[in-house]
Structures are given as structure tokens and as C-alpha cells.
Subunit: 331 residues, 2 copies
């Protein structure tokens, strides 16, 4: 048995409409809160959007035992007054380079420090963290590495801005993270478990296809080392990204791994197998509280070593480890 | 208009049974001959297998206007006497590292020069080329590079053996090829056109998933340069590898791109766009004749600049460029 205090998922896609109704309860039952990404169509970019989306999420969950940490889709037009008001409703702002992932077409096409200065200075002053999907438009295996200079420029130009490198997947990002006090990162479950070999090294596995794409064995090793260490600069963010089975198992398969229902069992198994269970509380909650300066809902989640089989799908959404047996279960 | 004399496909998968009937006519109508790979289940590993498979191929084609160049699945048990007899029926022998691609489970698990000596010396003496699927069991992007020392060891140990590096995909292989007189290579159409970005850089495209996986932009560039130059050490080998649509558009998607019906139009377009049409005859036929020391059937294939639309599938097998318009057509 192991009990986690107020586990937090600091990077989650809850989608909208029917998909929201399928996936939101699966996160809310295992977590005390989650940072909800704003890449809907159209993106969540006004205070009204945030409030309305939060209402839809709460309705889909049906209880107040889970807190959605709302985010705004970064726009360089956001000024101090807007952000001051927005801060009552959001926990962070997410910046997407244009066209880099699902529904990011309205993102920022060039990261120009000068152009973003007013907004980023206001965010620094108001202590609103900036979450970034850090990929260039380059070759798929190089995109994250190519984006690192942008992180470094921003970290130096805005030393009081907390910058979250979202879903890092490379050793280079782990190294960059350590160099700047105001850089932090989320790490997904799947990037701790898989490499490109699992996606395309044997037969092709569309349900493991995601952005950023899983990288090399030495990259996974670096992610695993920093996550298992409980290092205060990294926190768990699942990037659980549901797509209907029909859009995953077809040409033009959408990017995203749906991990929400199996996160805690697999994280416990992983940390336990490396004899690092003592550091899981930091990775799954405590580090996030400090980085985001938040006090989560009090919610204890207990897991027991008891085998269960992951369903083949949840209303047409195929989870990671579908049909496989897991060692730990949430009770 | 352009006329190609006796185009040859020096690496082709014709499969068996119903699939053979679907795909064989598509290659035979555009080519004078093709090296037919022996990775059936069970593999083509006896003279009787070769003769019977050749009969089935000829029956599927239904005319004598195309010559299947038969191959044996490499076994270290093949001795001089066997090979001397086999040579009447085959053009080369294909070596697969065990488990590296479709139906290669019966391949060689360790490439031990000493252990293979008798067979490879006999092949040298009998002038039977050795075709190799050159990949290690390592990380998917490194497998070809990791295999290069094996090519080099073999090239040095058996200087009179013609060794064909099949379907090379990397700059490293192009460089290695140039270092040894007895190393040659086939290059596919798809590896001249795509990189990993086309497979997994945007949405995931299972019909472009193949082994070896498409690599980096600089790798494609190196392949393109040597192919377009007409260099005598490289020849065209499509590795056209049909799989039913149902096994491509599903989790556990099989590796292989089905290019047979669109090869010549796309090669003409490619060489033409680089103003290298004059070198296509070397790449598509003349180099292969010298490397394999063969005289192909006389067969002129003419292409005309006339738009046509590639069918969405050929009896359930989806070709590369399905549903797209091509500039050149075979008349």
C-alpha cells in the first residue's frame, strides 16, 4: 500500500463536449487537481472562455473533489490589466509555437523577446507562470533541441518569470533546465517509459505516437534520472491527450497518448522498481506546489499491489497499456 | 517523352498467393526484370522452393515479358556443390539478420565471418552476389549505422564477393559504399523522397512506415546525390512491400511501402526536376546489369508527361501517393 497526498497532473488535455465527459472523471478520480491545457477550437483566450470552460469541466466531473487549474492560450496582446483580472481565474498561460501540435494554429509564429516583452513583464510581476510547448519547426528528432536557445533567451530576459518547459523529452532539455533558476519542467509518464523504438522500432504503434515524439534511449534515461531523484525543478504532467480510436488507427493518425486512467499505478510501479518510491510524492505533487505556489485540495489517493486489467478502451478512447495487466491499482 | 531500356527493380517483394496475383502484374508491366526477395513463410531456401516460387510468379504474370531474378534465403549450411547447382536458378542470395524485418525470423543471428566462411567463399568463387539487409538490433535510427562495421569486415574478408547493401537509407552507408570496391547498394524510391518527418513529423502516416525507417534530411540528401549522379555502385531497388490495408491501418502496423505502380513516373519526375534525366538509365538498369553481370530482356518502357491519378488501392493494397496526381505516366 502507498498513499499519495493530493497528486497533481500539471499538464492535461481534457478536450470538450463528449470527449470531456469521457476523460474528465478518469483524471478527477485519481488526482486532486490538474493544469488544463487551453488548445480547444477556438483556443481558451478570454476570461469568459476560461470561466465557461471551467464550468463545463466541473459539470463533467460532477463533484468538487478535483480542482481544474485553468490556463489561457498565450497571446501577445494580453496586457497588465487584463492579466491582473485573469489571474483570479487561471494558474498559468500556455505558449504554443504556431502549428506545432493539436490545435495550435493560433499560436505564436516567432518568439521575439521584444515583441512579447509587455506581456511577459506583466506575467513576471503578477507571478503567472509561462508554460511553453518548446519545439521548433525542424526535423522531428531535433525540434526540442532546436528550441532550447529560445528557453535560454527567455530565461535570461525575464529572470522573475517562472518558465515551464512542458513535456520535455531529451537529455538536452534536462541539461538546460539545470542552468537557469527560473526554468522548470513537466515530464510525462510515457516519456519515462518509451523511446522511438516502442513507436516505430518494431511494428508501428499509433497509440504511442505523440508530440514531442519519443526520443532516444539516452534521452529517456536522463528524464528517468531526474524524475526519480525527486529534483525540485521537475513535476509530473501527463500530457494525457485523448483522441477517438478511429482517428488514431488510420492514416493521418493524431498525436497523443491517453494515459489518464493508468498514471498512478504505472508511476508507483516505476518508482518502486527503481527503489525510489520515497521520491514519488515530490514528483507527483510537492514540487508542483512550490513551482506554482499553490495549495491543492486535500485528497489522499491510496494504491494497493493488486493486479487489474486495463480496459481495451474508454468509450472509444484507447488508453496506454490497453488490455494489459498492471501490478498496482488505486483503491 | 522518355524511353527507358529494360528497367530493372533490383529489390522487390512479390509475396505469394493472392497478394502475388495482385502485385506481380504491376511490376511486370513496367519492368523487364526484378530481384525477387525470398522472405516468404517458410523462406525460399531450397532449389525446389526457388523453382516452385518462380513458377507461381510466372503464372501470376501470365506472359514471358518479365524476368523474375530469383534469390535464396541465406543459410550458412549452403556448400559449394549446392550453390553450383543453385546458380542455374538464382541471381543472388539474401542474408537477413534474424528478426530484423518481415518474415526474417529464420535469418542469421550473428554475423560471424569464420562461421560463414565456407558459404561465402563458395559464393565468391561462383560469382553469386550476396544481398544483405544491413541493420543491427539497436535503436531504430542507429541500426543501419551500427551494421556498417559488419559490411566492412565482410568486404575485407571476401574481396571477390560482390556485396549488395540493400535499401540503404543513410549518409554513413553512402560513405561506406565508396570505400570498398566490392560493396554496392540498392536505393528505394521512397528513401529518395521521404524522411522521418514524412512518417511521423506531422500526423502519423502508416503507409510510409517501413524498415529501414526513413532517416534524416541529410541522409536523404546523400542518397539523392549518389542516385542522381548515376554512380555505378548504386542501382534502383524498390523494396516495394505490399501489405493489406487492414494490416497497415491498425495498431501493430506492418513495415513496408507499396511503390510498384508508381515507381517509373516518380523516378522520371524526380530526375527531371533535378535536370538529371540523362542519368536515370544508369540508375534504373545499366548499373544493375554490370553489378549483377546480367543481360536483361529487351523491353522499352516509354513515359509521357500526362497527368493521372493514382488509385486509392489495388485490391486492398494502398500504394504510395494513393489518390494523388502524378505528372508522368507509362504509356
Amino acid at each position: 500500500m502507498i498513499t499519495l497526498n493530493s497528486p497533481l497532473d500539471m499538464h492535461l488535455h481534457l478536450r470538450d463536449d463528449d470527449m470531456l465527459k469521457i476523460v474528465a472523471p478518469l483524471s478527477s478520480q485519481d488526482f486532486a487537481g490538474a493544469v488544463v491545457m487551453p488548445n480547444l477550437v477556438p483556443p481558451v483566450a478570454t476570461i469568459e472562455d476560461v470561466k465557461a470552460y471551467r464550468d463545463r469541466i466541473e459539470k463533467a466531473i460532477g463533484n468538487d473533489d478535483f480542482e481544474p487549474f485553468m490556463t489561457l492560450f498565450f497571446k501577445k496582446e494580453y496586457d497588465y490589466n487584463f492579466l491582473k483580472e485573469a489571474k483570479k481565474y487561471i494558474k498559468s498561460i500556455k505558449l504554443y509555437p504556431a502549428g506545432i501540435t493539436t490545435n495550435s494554429e493560433g499560436g505564436v509564429s516567432q518568439i521575439d523577446t521584444d515583441e512579447l516583452k509587455e506581456t511577459l513583464n506583466a506575467m513576471s510581476e503578477l507571478q503567472i507562470p509561462l508554460c511553453i510547448h518548446g519545439e521548433s519547426n525542424g526535423f522531428v528528432m531535433d525540434r526540442e533541441k532546436e528550441f532550447i536557445p529560445v528557453y535560454e533567451t527567455l530565461a535570461k530576459a525575464f529572470p522573475n518569470l517562472k518558465i515551464i518547459m512542458e513535456h520535455i523529452t531529451t537529455k538536452d532539455s534536462v541539461d538546460a533546465l539545470k542552468k537557469y533558476d527560473n526554468l522548470y519542467a513537466t515530464i510525462t509518464l510515457h516519456h519515462l517509459l518509451i523511446t522511438l523504438d516502442d513507436v516505430a522500432g518494431g511494428l508501428l504503434q499509433p497509440h504511442l505516437f505523440c508530440k514531442p515524439i519519443a526520443k532516444r534511449p539516452e534521452d529517456r534515461e536522463a528524464l528517468l534520472n531526474i524524475a526519480l531523484s525527486g529534483d525540485k525543478k521537475v513535476m509530473f504532467g501527463s500530457d494525457s491527450a485523448p483522441h477517438p480510436k478511429s482517428s488514431k488507427e488510420a492514416p493521418g493518425c493524431a498525436a497523443g497518448v491517453f494515459t489518464a486512467p493508468i498514471i498512478l499505478p504505472k508511476l508507483v510501479e516505476l518508482f518502486d522498481s527503481h527503489r525510489k518510491l520515497d521520491n514519488l510524492q515530490a514528483f507527483i505533487s510537492d514540487n508542483a506546489r512550490e513551482i506554482y505556489n499553490l495549495i491543492p485540495l486535500k485528497k489522499d489517493i491510496t494504491l494497493k499491489k493488486e493486479e487489474w486489467e486495463v480496459p481495451s478502451d474508454y468509450d472509444g478512447v484507447v488508453p496506454m497499456f490497453a488490455g494489459e495487466k498492471l501490478e498496482w491499482r488505486v483503491i
